[in-house]
């Protein structure tokens, strides 16, 4: 598909995205996403998972427009709490705390919030343009992928995600295997035989991934907050007034370069497996600090330390849709939830998705442009309004979130067993946090497990039982070698460090 073709399809997408219904759901997604981002703890994963049941009566396009809006809306909203109370609304906003909160302490919360919104808008828009022009040729290239390539790519994704989530690689890999094991419960995707159902009809459809997601990320977050001291649970925030929000021309000039660099960096990072927004924001902050003439200002309210990471965050979030739509493989937990939502609505993302569901693909892409514009409007003048939600003490907010989790989960299938699974996963997620186990690899593996198994078994069928098929196909071999590299490099580095330490000591 050429550039002109992409433009024509995008125009068609605007026709889909600008119907009254889709505009409404885009607006709803943007508002809910901003709220989810503003609320510390309730990140985009739990936010999307909670809202999936509300999309059951909708067509797939409207549903994905709203859920995607929650994802990128949360990225906008996440910066608000980082700047105002030094608590990141979601993990990708951690870097924004450093200089954003310092700016707030200097009485410049308004410009910091405004530049976050402007940076997110510019970077988001550029990343969507990248999505428009890069997705169709990538999808055509991915048509040549067979089961061995998909298997190796998924294994690569798991290992990279496990390696970059910040915790122990071994623990993350174990969580990925546990997720894959949970994914085997239900009907065998190849033969249709029941597995690990122990005669329970409700388990034939497998473990409800929404229950696992809400449990691991929603309930566990609430429980984690519950044990905090009363002082934190009663914390309130001072919100800037509307007239304090505007940045000066100097602020804008100062931030423009950082925004553009952040957009480029974030876009690239979003295309590879891992928690892209987190890596992109960290990379952007370090880049800005390194190239700055005044690196000593970073950590003390440097505006480029706010604008760059926020731009990178949004660009990474938008470009993460490319592997989801083009390969059908989510490289990050929020897109894993979106994959689940797509499948619930009968859409199987992959290389054929653009051809099979052009209205959905181009409609969602066009809605992202509209959603970004809505978010800029919401986040500039209305930031004080959204930040007002932080005035509600957590002591009241936590029970409300818990009720929403319970009701949202029950409305997915109307099965009580799902509530028990959610509760169990909530307790498990809480313990996992205590023991420093990551939930993201488990969730990603749970969603991708059946696909991985099918690709594995089909590959062996094609090769008549020979594992050589994974090494004999160039693309598959490249992914496996990259996987090996990701596994061995940290080990080698650790060995070098430990062998160097005694020498230094001597």
């Amino acid at each position: 598909m050429d550039v002109l073709g992409s433009f024509q399809h995008l125009l068609g997408g605007f026709g889909v995205a600008t119907t009254m219904q889709n505009l409404f759901y885009c607006l709803a997604g943007a508002i809910v996403g901003t709220l989810v981002g503003v609320l510390p703890g309730l990140g985009p994963i739990a936010g999307i998972a909670l809202l999936i049941p509300a999309t059951f009566g909708l067509n797939a396009t409207s549903a994905i427009i709203m859920l995607a809006g929650i994802y990128y809306g949360a990225m906008y909203g996440g910066s608000t709490t980082s700047i105002l109370i030094n608590v990141p609304g979601e993990t990708a906003s951690v870097m924004t705390c450093i200089d954003g909160y310092q700016m707030a302490r200097q009485g410049r919360a308004g410009p910091a919030l405004a530049l976050c919104a402007i940076g997110s808008f510019v970077a988001g828009g550029l990343a969507i343009l990248g999505l428009v022009f890069l997705a169709p040729p990538l999808a055509e290239a991915a048509l040549a992928f067979g089961p061995p390539e998909f298997f190796s790519l998924m294994v690569f994704g798991f290992v990279v995600l496990s390696n970059v989530t910040g915790g122990s690689l071994l623990k993350s890999l174990m969580m990925a295997v546990v997720g894959l094991l949970i994914g085997t419960i239900g009907l065998d995707p190849v033969s249709g035989n029941p597995r690990f159902t122990f005669g329970q009809v409700s388990l034939l459809g497998g473990i409800e991934f929404v229950a696992v997601a809400i449990g691991l990320f929603g309930i566990a977050e609430v429980l984690d907050n519950v044990e905090k001291p009363d002082a934190i649970l009663e914390q309130r925030v001072l919100v800037p007034r509307f007239r304090e929000l505007y940045p000066t021309l100097h602020d804008l000039r100062e931030s423009l370069g950082a925004i553009l660099r952040g957009a480029g960096l974030g876009f690239g990072v979003g295309l590879v497996p891992g928690p892209a927004p987190v890596i992109a924001t960290y990379g952007s902050y370090m880049l800005e600090k390194r190239i700055s003439k005044h690196p000593e200002e970073f950590g003390h309210g440097a505006i480029r330390g706010v604008a760059g990471p926020e731009a990178a965050n949004n660009a990474a979030c938008q470009s993460a849709f490319i592997p989801l739509f083009v390969l059908g493989i989510p490289f990050a937990p929020p897109t894993a939830i979106l994959l689940g939502a797509l499948m619930i609505h009968g859409v199987n993302p992959g290389p054929n998705m653009i051809a099979e569901h052009p209205d959905l693909f181009w409609g969602v892409v066009a809605s992202m442009f509209i959603g970004n514009a809505i978010l800029l409007l919401l986040n500039l003048p209305f930031v004080p309004l959204f930040a007002n939600i932080l005035r509600i003490p957590k002591k009241i907010l936590l029970p409300l979130v818990m009720l929403f989790c319970l009701t949202g989960m029950y409305s997915v299938n109307n099965f009580l067993v799902d509530l028990w699974v959610m509760l169990g996963c909530g307790a498990l997620g809480y313990l996992m946090r205590k023991w420093a186990y990551e939930g993201a690899p488990l969730l990603l593996a749970l969603v991708l497990g059946p696909k991985l198994e099918v690709a594995f078994r089909q590959s062996l069928m094609i090769s008549h039982g020979s594992f050589g098929i994974f090494l004999g196909r160039p693309v598959s071999l490249v992914f496996l070698l990259a996987t090996l590299g990701f596994l061995l490099v940290p080990l080698a580095m650790r060995l070098v460090r430990t062998s160097g330490a005694p020498r230094r000591a001597a």
């Binding site: 049941p53 509300a54 009566g57 122990s168 071994l170 623990k171 890999l173 174990m174 295997v177 546990v178 894959l180 094991l181 085997t184 065998d188 190849v190 033969s191 035989n193 597995r195 690990f196 309930i219 609430v222 429980l223 519950v226 044990e227 009363d230 649970l233 003490p393 002591k395 009241i396 936590l398 029970p399 409300l400 818990m402 009720l403 319970l406 009701t407 029950y410 409305s411 109307n414 009580l416 509530l419 028990w420 509760l423 909530g426 307790a427 809480y430 313990l431 023991w435 186990y437 198994e453 594995f456 078994r457 062996l460 069928m461 008549h464 039982g465 020979s466 594992f467």
Partner: protein, 146 residues
Amino acid sequence: MAAAVALFLLGAAAVFFSLQLPLGTLRAAGSGLFPLALGVLLMGLSACHAAQLLLASRSAAGAAGERPESYRRVLLFLGVVAATTALLTSVGFLLSAFCFLLALMEILGVRPRLMSLLVSLVTAGFSYLLFVRWLQIPLPKGWLGL
């Protein structure tokens, strides 16, 4: 270490139950082959992790232990969620939601109590209108029949 042991046992259970399923051959894998491989992998990884922990605990012998934390509220919270789940069908959504919120706010020590009462009442009523009346989600009616 407890987590590593639990994961090892989970892997062992996966191996045990996978062996009850048809394994097939590599050319035509049966239902049990993939989970069997995963079970073995989990056992191997958790054994490595346990070994790592043992080595680390030996080198860090004498280090200060973790600060003890209060799990009381967390357990109470989980207890209320479990009780609500168990009683949801018979008590119904509206009453369950009200009692659920009231109990959780009491655990968190929201004061004055009149505020918890009002917030619980308004939120339960609003949720009922939103989910049951507006979104038409068939939530349990219970004794009240609402």
